[in-house]
């Protein structure tokens, strides 16, 4: 009799444990992801908006069920664009067992590239350097936007196709290109070889590079040098403030060229800082601007308003959308790897990213394809132009189709 009572007691205890214990055990089934951002350093003007976008996109992913039912726990840190801190935080991410890292700029991405390759941890960066797209060299570096080199080639091509033909000198002489950027900076110099190669293909004459510091707010001496060459187009490889300074000086000194601008110098702040001088400036973007009518943008806006209500949506930059793009491709890769039964870094790469063929991210991002031999996400680049203070989509350049014979040889530079 007494034995039966004890049996009953134990069965009850076990039942209660199962009833209350198991669900909480499931609730703890989370996947850790690290995020390195710059919210205080040299790139904080764009880095903060990107960091907010990362956090908001992860909220969305979790609301949509996470990785096949498992929620993501985001460990997001500001490293102030300081490499020693990025390396220190990377060690924390590995201790936390992070499955992937959402990185930031050229500095941290390049500094960590050998380490993530050794540790087989996917690193999804906002540095779109073409140097990171060859899996033979950097197999765990990934991003969702078209690379800087493709962007530079496409922007120059779009100008050639849409503007040069209407120029009074068309057919009489070669168009002229000059590059304005901080020559010692890896981000600024990343696509220079590619744009000069494209200039050669299209028959441009190329002038001497103008070294413009990222800190510059007075670029008159560089504009004077440019005027001697009389360029038709100027490629700007810097970030927003110094690009705005160059545009203002070029406008004041009547340079008369069209400005082509790389991704991190081309956003709403450029229009705010440069005003009229920004009119006509062209740039390749890797996604749509905030509020554009493209799939998933409604969620970008909804989550921005929900989680950061004190920042007006009008003040949010394209950087938010770029962050969403990277989170969306990582989410898809992790879902695929998890379905394959292996959520290791190697599997996220091979069973996830490298199985994506024309994957539609939405957000105005061209369909994304990664393979084991090519991590360039796309061949189609969207090119915008600023008219009356607004961004207008003017062209979609399909580099892979137009230069099918050269496309493979452009990998990794």
């Amino acid at each position: 009799m007494l034995k039966k009572k004890w049996q009953k007691f134990f069965i009850s205890v076990i039942s209660i444990t199962f009833l209350f214990g198991l669900p909480s055990a499931f609730a703890e089934d989370k996947i850790n992801i690290g995020s390195l951002n710059d919210m205080t350093g040299a790139t904080s003007d764009v880095g903060k908006d990107y960091a907010l976008g990362i956090s908001e996109a992860i909220h969305y992913v979790n609301d949509m069920g996470g990785i096949n039912g498992k929620k993501i726990k985001l460990y997001q840190f500001d490293y102030g664009y300081r490499i020693p801190e990025a390396l220190t935080k990377y060690k924390l991410f590995t201790r936390l067992g992070c499955k992937a890292i959402l990185g930031w700029g050229t500095g941290d991405t390049e500094a960590l590239s050998p380490t993530i390759t050794r540790d087989k941890i996917p690193y999804i960066s906002a540095s779109y350097s073409g140097h990171l797209t060859n899996p033979d060299k950097t197999p765990y570096n990934i991003f969702s936007g078209t690379d800087y080199s493709s962007n530079a080639r496409a922007t120059l091509t779009a100008w050639f196709d849409t503007k040069w033909k209407n120029h009074p000198d068309f057919g009489k002489r070669k168009p002229k290109l000059i590059c304005s950027y901080m020559t010692s900076h890896p981000y600024c110099s990343a696509p220079i070889k590619a744009i000069k190669d494209q200039a050669k293909i299209l028959g441009f004459e190329v002038g001497n590079d103008q070294d413009v510091s990222l800190f510059a707010i007075d670029t008159k001496s560089q504009i004077l040098a440019m005027k001697k060459f009389k360029p038709d187009v100027v490629w700007h490889g810097n970030t927003t403030m110094s690009v705005a300074a160059t545009l203002k000086d070029a406008y004041a000194m009547k340079l008369g060229a069209t400005h082509l601008i790389n991704v991190w110098g081309y956003d709403k702040n450029l229009i705010k800082l440069a005003g009229k001088a920004a009119d006509g400036a062209m740039g390749a973007t890797v996604c749509a601007f905030v509020g554009e009518d493209v799939p998933l943008m409604d969620k970008v806006v909804e989550y921005a308003k929900k989680y950061n209500p004190s920042i007006p949506i009008e003040d949010r930059l394209i950087r938010t959308v770029q962050a969403w793009g990277n989170v969306m491709v990582l989410w898809e890769a992790m879902k695929r790897a998890d379905k394959a039964g292996d959520l290791s870094g190697e599997s996220i790469r091979q069973n996830g990213f490298e199985t994506m063929a024309n994957f539609d991210v939405g957000l105005g991002i061209a369909p994304v394809t990664y393979s084991a031999s090519d991590h360039r996400p796309g061949k189609i680049v969207t090119v915008y132009e600023i008219n009356d203070g607004k961004f207008n989509l003017i062209d979609k350049v399909n580099l892979g189709q137009r230069w099918a014979d050269k496309w493979n040889s452009w990998l990794g530079w």
Binding site: T40, G41, S44, K48, G80, Y81, D218, M241, P309, S310
Partner: protein, 208 residues
């Protein structure tokens, strides 16, 4: 005897009724289920700012050889602590998942910090949270140079690294007395209930 029993019974009933009522009342208070409608966003208010650790102002460029360690560009760090009151007006506990805000010295946004250590705030109680913000002299210099060049010029401080260092020196040297406005802006604190209902509180304040 019979009457005495009756009084005792009546007293017992009254006590029992009082006991049951108070239990029910307590129960009701505890058992109000959080809903999207009844979940009031907790109130976040900046109580004060504290210079948590202070090293004064200095800056060494990489041209200066250090006594020990690596040669490089180094600026004085500054550790500020922001103390917030987090008031939960709800009759049930609420979890604070994160608190995030940007810090501006005058018109220059220098830092954005986020604290993701969760804490539970009991029903109708106020918690305090201390959020540290580390300002590195070198990092702040680069931030000012790359993003604040036009503003420095407008302020009449000139251009380039000299102007930015001058501005940083002024802030670092006068902050013990809080002689310039420190803006807490674009603040957002995320709260949730045990059931996963979420509310976000926006906040901002200028100190002092």
């Amino acid at each position: 005897m019979y009457k005495k029993n009756k009084i005792l019974a009546l007293t017992a009933i009254i006590f029992a009724a009082f006991f049951i009522t108070s239990c029910v009342a307590t129960d009701v208070k505890i058992n109000i289920a959080p809903t999207q409608e009844n979940f009031q966003a907790p109130v976040v208010s900046l109580d004060y700012v504290d210079v948590a650790h202070y090293w004064g102002w200095w800056y060494f460029s990489k041209k200066v050889k250090p006594t020990m360690g690596t040669q490089g560009d180094y600026g004085a760090p500054l550790d500020l602590a922001f103390i917030f009151n987090i008031e939960n007006p709800n009759p049930y506990p609420v979890k604070m998942d994160s608190i995030k805000f940007t810090i501006g010295f005058e018109d220059f946004d220098l830092n954005t910090v986020e604290n993701k250590e969760i804490q539970w705030i009991p029903a109708e109680k106020t918690n305090q949270v201390r959020v540290h913000a580390m300002f590195d002299g070198r990092q702040s210099l680069l931030s000012l140079l790359v993003t604040g060049g036009f503003k420095l010029k407008e302020k009449g401080l000139g251009t380039g690294a000299g102007a930015a260092l001058k501005q940083l020196g002024q802030w670092w040297e006068t902050i013990p007395g809080f002689e310039f406005p420190i803006h807490v802006k674009q603040g957002a604190a995320v709260f949730s209930t045990e059931e996963g209902i979420i509310k976000v509180t926006a906040f901002e304040k200028t100190f002092p």
